[in-house]
């Protein structure tokens, strides 16, 4: 069984956001790029399944410009077998999904994993769009995946409700946390090996987008925190009712 993990390249989660000169993007100077946290967990699980002999090949794919290659190399160093980069600066989730759909049309996969969201634009759309474009069976909010004799056991978790499903490929799974807890990091040996693993660059087939960013701004500053003495902690309940009027 072959698995595709879709990888988004995002700023480190501690990045302080500075607005770019065009007011439509953020200023990327000095930003540390990482694998989107959910994609990293998805990749971790895919590699665990490969170690267990249940997956034959783990491929990672990204739609982006050359700037994303460090992230793809890191995925290879973590253990992915090869990487595909579709060369374009995506305008929105539609551009990403339509270019990924071409990758999958050229090379079918049994399982496709997408993170539930990308921590930059928080769109939560690429997985579902990709499934829709390919008219593929898809399962959302996946927090567990196992494989036994080509049969997939998938755990979903929504609002404290748990569901266990059985299915088979081809299927697209939208991954949330729980699929793996601690993300796998590259080993020294992995970093060495990654240098010779294939990273294929394909040209974009579509640049169509459905949305366009008109302006990016910073949120308004938060007011000062009102401190209450610990001895008098009950007072806060009164303030919530009488001052903030939210209770």
């Amino acid at each position: 069984m072959k698995i595709l993990v879709c990888i988004s390249n995002v700023p480190d989660t501690t990045t302080k956001i500075v607005i770019g000169a065009d007011d439509k993007n953020i200023n990327t100077a000095g930003i540390q790029w990482i694998i989107n946290p959910w994609d990293e967990l998805a990749l971790t699980r895919a590699l665990e399944l490969k170690d267990a002999g249940k997956i034959s090949e783990v491929v990672v794919a990204n739609v982006g410009t050359a700037i994303t290659e460090a992230t793809l190399r890191k995925s290879l160093a973590t253990g992915a077998d090869r990487a595909i980069r579709v060369n374009t600066e995506p305008a929105d989730a539609w551009t990403v999904a339509s270019n990924l759909s071409e990758v999958v049309k050229n090379e079918p996969f049994d399982i496709i994993l997408c993170g539930i969201e990308s921590s930059d634009h928080n769109g939560s759309s690429v997985g579902g769009l990709l499934a829709g474009m390919l008219d593929l069976n898809f399962i959302s909010s996946v927090s567990g995946l196992d494989i036994e004799n080509e049969k997939l056991t998938v755990q979903r978790e929504i609002d404290g409700e748990k569901e266990i499903l059985e299915t088979q490929g081809p299927v697209l799974l939208v991954i949330q946390k729980g699929i793996a807890i601690v993300p796998r990091i590259p080993s020294m040996r992995g970093i060495m090996q990654a240098r010779t693993k294939p990273l294929q660059i394909v040209e974009a087939t579509s640049s169509e987008s459905m949305t366009e960013t008109v302006q990016v701004t910073l949120p308004p500053e938060k007011g000062k925190c009102k401190m209450i003495d610990a001895e008098n902690a009950g007072e806060v309940i009164r303030l919530l009712r009488e001052e903030a009027k939210v209770l």
Binding site: A131, D159, T213
Partner: protein, 321 residues
């Protein structure tokens, strides 16, 4: 522009956010014109169905099913009804279900999609909405260029507004083919009666400062008195002290309650990403330099074990007044 709202059901009733979505759609129809149509799939009681009209739905559709179709079929069913209703704006809750179904629907309609929106469009021609990006660290105005426009409204950001109309109510069956699926459900663990974290107006949350899962009794007690949902920071759920569903933040749930209580939570940037939409944040931490105080509205420097009993007592008093 007709507006269609996908209103989720739970145990025969609308999920609470359905009414907020209808209120939003009614206000939006003041800008776009057109009809406000609500569509529910699943089991729903007659008495409950009527309530959609209290908030402005003039056409109320219920498609009956004891069990929902799988994601793909549910999306296709929605596409069929969106076309039937001649709707151009489609509204979902910005929760797990909305995020699952809306993009598949968008692919079918060739629609632009805006998730996590918190208010009405600035204008509708061109159609421009504001949404949070970088987990609330920035805001983006985006233009939805496509004919069909799909919006996902974050919970508790618009509010529920009474605006009664006289509705047409329809019930329909669903063709059997929509229930065919390659997925077989082996087991489900339901939660009944509990306040859903994503919808809760008050959230009592705690972090590693609680020291042990055995100390959660007072968190639950305070939540119970206030009618609040409980939540936690990531390490707390990673350690298995609390269920994953309670984890808020960058990699967990993003919530917008009226009040968020943070007990023994340091306020790391990834945690704040999930709670910055709260109207009021109350923080209790023994370290006066904890970053949570930078985002809190009310702060108490102190030990959770000493502060919690006092708050519980005050909450109980105010609730019985």
């Amino acid at each position: 522009m007709n507006i269609l709202i996908y209103t989720e059901t739970r145990e025969g009733s609308f999920k609470k956010q359905g009414f907020e979505l209808i209120s939003y759609a009614k206000a939006l129809s003041g800008m776009t014109g057109g009809e406000v149509i609500s569509l529910a799939i699943g089991e729903i009681f007659d008495e409950e169905l009527k309530k959609a009209a209290d908030y402005g739905a003039s056409r109320i559709i219920a498609l009956e099913a004891d069990q929902l179709p799988d994601n793909r079929n549910l999306s296709k069913l929605l596409i069929q009804w969106i076309k039937q209703a001649n709707a151009q704006v489609i509204l979902f809750a910005d929760n797990n279900t909305g995020k699952a179904i809306a993009p598949f629907v968008a692919a079918g309609l060739k629609a632009g999609i805006a998730t996590g929106i918190t208010g009405l469009p600035e204008k509708t021609d061109p159609f421009i909405v504001t949404r949070k990006i970088y987990s609330g660290k920035a805001l983006a105005k985006i233009q939805v260029k496509s004919h069909y426009k799909i919006l996902l409204l974050a919970a508790n950001t618009f509010g529920i507004k009474n605006d009664p109309v006289v509705p047409v109510i329809e019930r329909h069956n669903i063709e059997a083919e929509y229930f065919e699926s390659p997925n077989k459900i082996i087991s489900t663990e339901k939660q009944t009666g509990k306040i859903l974290l994503g919808e809760a107006e008050i959230v009592v949350s705690a972090g590693r400062g609680m020291k042990s899962p055995d100390n959660w009794g007072s968190i639950e007690e305070l939540a119970q008195i206030l009618g609040a949902a409980t939540a936690c920071s990531r390490p707390v759920s990673d350690e298995g002290w609390r269920p994953h569903g309670e984890h808020v933040g960058q990699t967990g749930k993003v919530i917008n309650p009226n009040i968020y209580f943070a007990f023994g939570i340091s306020g790391a940037i990834q945690h704040v990403a999930g709670i910055s939409g709260s109207k009021v944040i109350v923080a209790v931490n023994k370290d006066h330099e904890a970053p949570i105080f930078n985002v809190a509205d009310y702060g108490i420097v102190g030990d959770v074990n000493q502060v919690l009993p006092k708050m519980i007592e005050a909450a109980r008093k105010i609730k019985t007044e």
